[in-house]
Point group: C2
Chain length 243, copies 2
Amino acid sequence: MNFKLTLEYDGTDFAGWQVQPGCRTVQGVLEEAILKLTGQSVRVHGSGRTDAGVHAYGQVASVKLSTNIPPERLKFALNPLLPADVKILETQEMHDDFHARFSAQGKTYAYCVLLRNNPAPLLRHRAWQVDSRLDLERVRQVLCLIKGTHDFKAFCSAGSSVSSTERTIWEASMRQTGEECVITLHGNGFLYNMVRIIVGTAVSVGLGQLQLEDVSTALISGKRIIKAPTAPAQGLYLVHVDY
Amino acid sequence: MNFKLTLEYDGTDFAGWQVQPGCRTVQGVLEEAILKLTGQSVRVHGSGRTDAGVHAYGQVASVKLSTNIPPERLKFALNPLLPADVKILETQEMHDDFHARFSAQGKTYAYCVLLRNNPAPLLRHRAWQVDSRLDLERVRQVLCLIKGTHDFKAFCSAGSSVSSTERTIWEASMRQTGEECVITLHGNGFLYNMVRIIVGTAVSVGLGQLQLEDVSTALISGKRIIKAPTAPAQGLYLVHVDY
């Protein structure tokens, strides 16, 4: 049987999604819980890797298992075997071809920027704190440029081995609530570190360290903007995966 | 010189406010930071104790110190000596009579209730998760009863040695955003565990485990409602202290 698992996790104490020897990873603790429950040593496939410190409200994983537990009850059997910082929200049986990564049609990420000059103990693992003078209108202008179908080669970290760097961003928006600014990106796929580079670039433009023209040039030339920072992992949330 | 310190902290990894031998407390780490900076071993007075796991957006402390650091700069000197989960938002010089506890005129607490049946890894240290069928209208009715001047003897834990248990609650309101419900209480003072008992009682009424009449009876009789739970610490935030 092929299962789809929908997961929420607090990425703070994980070395990211992917199993690595000697590291506590989300994939690792999931596979351990499944082994404990079923005695089966299986590979759980995620919709994509998340880096250390990145959170998820709706990461999706797929796994092939033999079990007589009813599919929608599987989460109740697995959750007690999982640590408090990762839990399964939903388990569903899927057709054999379903694969969390290859079947994904789109993803939604949220990034939390905190506009505050004082330190923020309560959000230290949940947001990127930036100078409160950030010009939100300029951040919005960057998001406007990003929206649509582009070659995002300039907005990914080296080392990813994808055949094409063209992606479509259907939604790129921002919502402010007090000191918290949440940037939401919904697209058909994201390159390695793409969300964090887009957010880092947008914040640099909003702080006057980069010009809007630098962004449009990068989109056309495919050349990484040297001064654009990669926003830190702790502000990033994988919200939803479309199938 | 007498200083007022305004503090934010994540209460998760603290054994509460008050210094206790062998425990990591907010008061303890503050006094250590002051000792490191000034060489002075002093007592920092809080506006009140917070229990283990309780958070603060605006706890206030007072401390007498000799220093030639300008008062408003003192936070910049102390913050690097404090751990990441507690920071000073503001330092001000006050007249000699100012005392964080005795000068307080009122306090605002917020309590976060999460209406969700699935587990919630990202809010596990930040909210009290209750059955999503909670009837918010009934919670509001309890808050309505609580508002005003009452003898809150029925709404405090034994062991507090206060002379009077009469308090005035100026505001008792609730605001819902998605699954999160924030109850705000603003009053001239709060007895030991009073906010957590009020919230526990309101939630019990909202879940149909208690009747509204039990609340009005308790307010009149001063007798603790036996079935009313004390809401857990991790949903509670000390937001503001009035002077």
